[in-house]
Subunit: 725 residues, 2 copies
Amino acid sequence: MNYEISAVLLNADEVKALQEEVGRDSLMGKTIATMRKEIDAFMALDYDVPGHGEAGGYEHNRHKQNYNFMNLAGRLFLITKEEKYALFVKELLSLYADKYLQFDFHVQKNTNPTGRLFHQILNEHMWLMYASLAYSCVEQEMSDVEREHIVNNLFQPMLEMFTVKYAHDFDRIHNHGMWAVAAVGICGLAIGKREYLEMSVFGLDNYAAGKNEMGEGGFLAQIAQLFAPSGYYMEGPYYHRFAIRPLCVFAEVLHRHMPELDIYNFKDKVIGNTVQALLATAYPNGEFPALNDASHTMGITDMGVQVAVSLYSKHYGLDDNLLGMAKIQNQVWMHACGLELSRAFEKAQNERPDDIGLPFFPSVELNEGPEGHNGAQGFIRMQDGKDVFQLVMNYGQHGMGHGHFDTLGITYFNRGQEVLREYGFGRWVNVEPKFGGRYLDENKSYARQTIAHNAVAIDEKCQNNFDADRADTVHGLPHFFKVDDDKVNGMSAFANDHYQGFDMQRSVFMLKLDELEAPLLLDLYRLTAEDDKTHQFDYSHQYDGQIVRTNFEYQANQELDTLGENFGYQHLWNVASGEVKGSALVSWLQNNTYYTWLGTSSNNDGEVIFTRTGANDPSFNLRSEPAFILRAKGQSSLFASVLETHGYFNEEFEQSVNARGQVQDVRVVAHNEVGSVVEIETQQSVVTFMVSNQLAATDTTAHQVSVDDKTYQWNGFYSLEVQAK
Amino acid sequence: MNYEISAVLLNADEVKALQEEVGRDSLMGKTIATMRKEIDAFMALDYDVPGHGEAGGYEHNRHKQNYNFMNLAGRLFLITKEEKYALFVKELLSLYADKYLQFDFHVQKNTNPTGRLFHQILNEHMWLMYASLAYSCVEQEMSDVEREHIVNNLFQPMLEMFTVKYAHDFDRIHNHGMWAVAAVGICGLAIGKREYLEMSVFGLDNYAAGKNEMGEGGFLAQIAQLFAPSGYYMEGPYYHRFAIRPLCVFAEVLHRHMPELDIYNFKDKVIGNTVQALLATAYPNGEFPALNDASHTMGITDMGVQVAVSLYSKHYGLDDNLLGMAKIQNQVWMHACGLELSRAFEKAQNERPDDIGLPFFPSVELNEGPEGHNGAQGFIRMQDGKDVFQLVMNYGQHGMGHGHFDTLGITYFNRGQEVLREYGFGRWVNVEPKFGGRYLDENKSYARQTIAHNAVAIDEKCQNNFDADRADTVHGLPHFFKVDDDKVNGMSAFANDHYQGFDMQRSVFMLKLDELEAPLLLDLYRLTAEDDKTHQFDYSHQYDGQIVRTNFEYQANQELDTLGENFGYQHLWNVASGEVKGSALVSWLQNNTYYTWLGTSSNNDGEVIFTRTGANDPSFNLRSEPAFILRAKGQSSLFASVLETHGYFNEEFEQSVNARGQVQDVRVVAHNEVGSVVEIETQQSVVTFMVSNQLAATDTTAHQVSVDDKTYQWNGFYSLEVQAK
């Protein structure tokens, strides 16, 4: 038996090293034990290669389980030398080969092409990648007849389907395309047809033309084009973590079988770069923010991210944050890369256990666009004792065809929960009675609309009029991203093309004031119309929990109407509203923490409207969630607000501490094209905060804003002054 | 030093035995280590004896922490012999003695008398009990002057306040009264004034009359009268677990200092009995059902329950369920009783670790009333693999002045969550801006009303017309409670006095059918009016999660109105409604599990109304929660429904299995004063279910119900027949 020849991902020395981990208490040892336990339970069941089923249903899941467990079994055979794992792969693949060509193609239900096993070929790509990896581990155990049966009746027809029948999809630069090229390339290598590897790497056209270089499609084009220089993926972390797995697995295969590509150094180490970028988006608890049409459920424990962290450790170097990630994951990739991480973790645990805590990623601005010139996504983190506060602002690109219209939208996370929240997508993934588990109408009519986000909606419309093509032509304009100070971190950006005839700028900060128990969020949102008409500005806040108090009178409506007719407003119940003079205070309790928001605008009178989703939702597709809106009217507006995090509530222990907070008022002093000046009043002091509104400003630009007989002057992007009362 | 003299709860031998646990890995060893860690952190702070504050606020919590940590410090001084713990108690008590009489009484905000430290004397009782216990552990370390200062300026004034100024409250039979007598009795013993012990045990009147026997008030009267023969406490488990701590602590003190009472055998072992009853109400995850004006946050990890489990183990014997409880608690009472449990747990863990899993309490019917004749609370549990399904029905007494009007109401729990839910109380405990953390108006206007529960509301009214005095005069009538069968468990009861002019009977079952993955809930709710008019019956279901599908058309309302004007209906938005012919299907997804409800009534046409709380809630005091109601109209009605638990959903892993369930229909065949007959149709079979409606029936009573040309006959309370389709 010569494992070197067959296994496309592991050589004999590596297998030997992995064998030594069996039964050990290392991350790798634990991984192997966990995997064995899971697969042994699955292997206790009868084989089943079912026919067509619904997305997410039994058949779908069974095919998924089959490929996942074959993938594991292949490697476990090499690592444990137990024949039963090889037998499992051989027999199950043989069953698939018996049946595959008997299955017809699924009936097409959405825009994706269908496979013979799955309702969309994406899943069939995934099947092929894992099954090929498994095959490569055990094919030495098979007779020629067995091999030929599988190759001729299963792998070869699949390869042809992907590269001929669905050739038009194969070269598409997209997260699905990553799976296509990885599957085809790895399968080609596994069955000794290197031409498929070449198609996958260089694209179909270049392969046909005999050019061994990056083409229009193929893996090299994918990784060269999918990511911005920062490594950010424009569809957001949810789709990024989905694409990262075939990317990493295929990269490792190429590292071994096409060393001439020097894949890990390709395009300035784009692979390492994009892994870091993905990790850098995560909230302190390891979950990914649901940027751009995503669910809230994905995080760094995802298997793809595990593969990425292991791979990074091996090829790009280790640091304590990666060890911290591994600690959360509590598992590694069952591969030589994972072994590297496992050994480093073991060493650190033995030598300096106190150093390996939760990872703390520094604040980071991830640019967007092929050259990094199409705006950015900003992530600011501030430590608060053991807790981390994270503020995310989108001032980059539209997230492809399904993107959300939420430029300048923010989310905010602290004390283990998302406070200013992203609704996420309108979809019940794979829940068949919910429109087959596909995207729901309400995804368009609500979830992607501007009013669904923590942003300002103008004149009850959506950014770019909900036109994705138009949205693709514009992007945010970064103003500053300042995270070096201990006390004040902030970022600011413009979006001057998203509502026609309006310029918008949002500047968000986290401030540490001595008298407050936690960092304070300060938010300045400035809008100016080109015309001189009066416009309506709705400054929306998606919160969760129970309203505790306000500082203004409001009317809880005796009957509920929708807040508007279109652009998501038709899904909002107008629950209560009240006029406000000066600053409005809205305080709520979310789980164990109190939050107090104080907001105002430069326009004289405002209105606060409390809403709840669920109107015009005839199939109960939307979750019922609350929000409140500060509405102002004028030719322009500067909204200023602070959000204080304070106190503690625990019903079980009947504790409630500091339920009211310390901040008393927020006032707009002035704003013009030069800058904005606001004041925050707390119990003990008045903070004057000045921000540059000049896109061309630098760290040294002098700013001056006069109001009545007072002049405010500062240099650089912002300045603040704290005065005791 | 002679510990025997001072510590009222521990003798020298016991202290010695506890000393041997320090540093060990036993439950007791871990408890001591945890307590030390907590108290050491607290002792690192400066002393603080603050003035008046709001309920649940800093001052309130600080006094609470002070007494809790003094209580721990006293025992830790004995166990660890570390002088610092004694010093902490001595100095802090002395500070209290300096200040106590300088504090005036709190301003009274509710009906409870106020103390000098707390807004209600209940908390001051708690303070005194713990402080006295602490004092008894360290007083040997004090000089006469120190002792006198504390006794004269702190303990004695408190004792006088409780037994003279607030004498009227001292003898009240109530959970608050339990704290009063325990505090006064223990303090009297600690300071060598045994007269207070006698007042506490025999009541003020008997003490004054020199009678050493159970009086109108006092501990003996409390424990003789508070509990039904079953041990159930009429205010429900939330208040029960609150009263159990002083009960157990004081009982242990009396066991040592008034052995002539033979307290653990008093009144047929009422103490052991009531501890068992409390534990027997808990849901499988250890939480207590929020019966009767309670929150959902209390469970068996509560410190009072820990004391109770330890005490029971010592004085009434151990079994594997108690060991399972200790496993969940992962702690024991830091006392000789807890040591007994800790040793037993250690032994079991060493000798037969696999036996000690989660506790599984058998199904139990807990009777109510002084003689056990005032109805009961029924708890049926059925094992489903590793999971336990629990069904709770209230057919007992009204839960005192604040009781809920929900006789025949049910709650249902499985797969780790409450499925048919109890709203709990309308109160944000100790959240000062929410009406001082006290009960809110909405507690009366919504939470206590019949429509807020899983029950039938007649003619849009509340049981007993929301008259607590009237409610106190009636109770449920148990019909049967059958839990011996492997496949069918059920209970049935009547409530013929709760709506004037109506008889009601509810019969609920859990059925195991071979073709279903989990037990099925079957619910028959029968109502008959004495008059011959048409009435409206609203059969309400409080669920949580997202509606997945229905089998009928409904209209989602374009604007929302309240469902009614009064009796809780004014708080319900009428979100959507539809007419139903035959059976209505409502399916929803709660976290990872699908639920499908199929319901019908004997009346021809029904209506399903989807509601959400939040109407007429001007201060956002209510949580926004959904429900659906099957509304039927007639002179009488038999509602029949099934609730199927099925499938699995996991968004992270994109899995959805069996989203639709197997049950297809439920039909009312017949119902009259003899019995009810219904049919359940699944994919494979038809189940005919027959239930006795005769209050006087026995296990052998012959029943016969004829409809058209068919006669249904059975003996006993119920019968079922399964026929393959």
